[in-house]
């Protein structure tokens, strides 16, 4: 009885090992748990190798087959994490995320760069040319196995690498709105603000430069209002984008009025000039989701109430 129980325990033990190993290599090799179990069993039963050693040996032979280093496998079965939970540099993780946005890579070494999103939030991703990975598409959901987290100035991103597995999933993800709140003085309004024209092509909406869309060439643009501003609290800067509604609220200038102003002056820049005069050098609090380096303003409040001098006074006297 005892030996039978022991034997069946070893059996299920081997099965577990086999499934774990198959899972570990599922991104790299076409193997199933039965094959793995057979190899393990052969070592354990026929050659009397301890289970641990058998597992080690089987993993090594698969590593050889896949042409991988042990490090590249991660530590066997990464943690599947939510983007918002990523708070450490150089962690190997798996994520399931939607490609929210693809950006123009700024360098030859980058094959794709953009924004991933899951229920918890959004995060930048980078994929390098040398990794030779299939391209992922905007709006689709993927399970990305074995990506590495990266930190730059307190901002986290994930890097795809040559061991990353990319599996397209037939599902949609409601991308979470990880709203953040920033405040400070508006110290600059950047170019591309005020009365702008957008490309009218289906799904494009790129901002035209001198009547040209980067993608579609010369087009008859559609007017829109937007402000790309810089909030600065003396410690850090935050770039903020105010869309049409927020811009209208903030400046009291509607799109129609802006178009009239531009028509009267025969120049669209009068609009942004007026906005500069109204907004720069004042304090604001802005909340909204973070998109790359920008905060998209959903809610904006001009800070008119007096600041708390008492708290600073107490601190000043304490040092």
């Amino acid at each position: 009885m005892e030996t039978k129980a022991e034997a069946s325990e070893t059996m299920s033990d081997l099965r577990n090992h086999a499934e774990e190993i198959a899972e570990q290599f599922s991104d790299h090799l076409d193997i199933d748990a039965d094959d793995v179990e057979e190899r393990l069993q052969n070592l354990v039963d026929e050659y009397r190798v301890p289970v641990d050693e058998a597992r080690r040996s089987v993993v090594n032979s698969y590593l050889d087959e896949a042409g991988l280093d042990r490090d590249e496998l991660g530590r066997g079965g990464n943690e599947e994490v939510h983007l918002a939970d990523i708070d450490q540099d150089e962690q190997w993780v798996d994520v399931t995320a939607k490609v929210v946005e693809l950006w123009e890579p700024r360098s030859e070494s980058i094959s794709q760069v953009g924004l991933l999103g899951d229920e918890s939030g959004r995060m930048k991703f980078v994929s390098f040319t040398t990794s030779d990975l299939p391209e992922i598409e905007e709006g689709k959901v993927y399970r990305l196995g074995n990506v590495v987290t990266d930190e730059y100035q307190g901002n986290f991103s994930v890097k795809l690498n040559r061991t990353t597995s990319i599996e397209e999933l037939d599902e949609d993800i409601e991308v979470g709105d990880d709203a953040t709140t920033v405040e400070g003085a508006l110290v600059d309004i950047q170019s591309g603000s005020g009365l702008i024209k957008r490309c009218p092509e289906e799904g494009c909406t790129r901002v035209l430069q001198n009547g040209r869309c980067n993608e579609h060439g010369n087009v008859e643009g559609e007017f829109d209002l937007r402000i790309k501003g810089v909030l600065d609290d003396g410690d850090a800067v935050h770039e903020v984008i105010f869309g049409r509604d927020m811009t209208e609220d903030l400046t009291g200038i509607t799109l129609e009025e802006a178009q009239e102003m531009a028509m009267d002056a025969l120049d669209t820049t009068v609009v942004v000039d007026e906005m500069r005069t109204d907004l720069i050098g004042r304090y604001y609090r802005v909340s909204g989701p973070e998109l790359g380096r920008y905060v998209l303003a959903d809610d904006t409040e001009r800070l008119n109430e007096p600041a708390d001098a008492e708290a600073v006074l107490i601190k000043a006297r304490s040092i």
Binding site: I110, A185, D233, G234, V237, R302, E305, A309, L313
Partner: protein, 228 residues
């Protein structure tokens, strides 16, 4: 990764006039010709840009052939000098149109120049000048006091290279800047609710906002009648 990032924008430091005018040492952190030039603040921080709010008390066109405007902007601790000429057309035209006294905010770059007698003077080359109200000015005073106190707190910390640089270049006690911050804050308390421009300083674009704000704060400060 960092090489693929857009160079980050320089933070606009908050510094009172007294400390700003004590600064004189400038440096670069790279050999690149276009690398940013930093002014070393005596409390141990590098400043390539500043944001200040104060009262414009005087303006004068000191240019010879071309317009060159000089403005004096006063905070609770001293006076900032700002200079704007043809290369700062927006700021120059703002100074031309302004009637002192007025609360203004300035975003700008520190500039140093050596006088004939070998002293180094510091001024601000403005990127923008805007007319603001009293609450914005008071908010700046509190914020600048806070940032100053934070710099003083960090000053002697290990690894604070700008603190170390300040000790080498200036050897000024940070106490005086703490005292300046404290008296700046006290000047706000003394002014109480009766502040210059508090009612007429709000600009028209935000008139509706500030109205609703002040209603709100009235309600907050009114002491509720006890229900007997």
């Amino acid at each position: 990764m960092s090489s693929n990032e857009v160079p980050s924008r320089e933070v606009a430091r908050r510094v009172f006039a007294e400390e700003f005018n004590d600064a004189s040492y400038t440096f670069k952190e790279s050999d690149d010709e276009r690398a940013p030039v930093y002014l070393l603040l005596p409390t141990g921080e590098k400043a390539n840009r500043v944001f200040l709010v104060g009262t414009l008390t005087e303006k004068e066109d000191v240019g010879e052939d071309n317009e060159y405007w000089r403005g004096r902007i006063v905070d609770p601790t001293g006076t900032f000098f700002v200079y704007a000429g043809q290369y700062q057309p927006e700021a120059a035209s703002a100074l031309r149109d302004l009637e002192p006294p007025a609360y203004v905010s300035v975003v700008g770059k520190p500039r140093t120049y050596e006088t004939d007698d070998g002293n180094v003077n510091v001024s601000v080359r403005p990127e923008s000048i805007s007319v603001v109200d009293a609450t914005t000015r008071d908010r700046w005073v509190v914020e600048t006091a806070q940032r100053t106190v934070e710099r003083i707190e960090r000053f002697d910390q290990e690894g604070n290279e700008y603190g170390r640089m300040s000790r080498e270049e200036y050897d000024l006690p940070t106490d005086r800047y703490k005292t300046a911050a404290v008296s700046a804050l006290q000047s706000l308390e003394e002014a109480g609710g009766d502040e210059l421009g508090g009612s007429d300083g709000a600009d028209t674009a935000d008139a509706s906002d500030s109205e609703s704000e002040s209603e709100g704060s009235d309600a907050d400060t009114a002491s509720p009648e006890p229900n007997a």
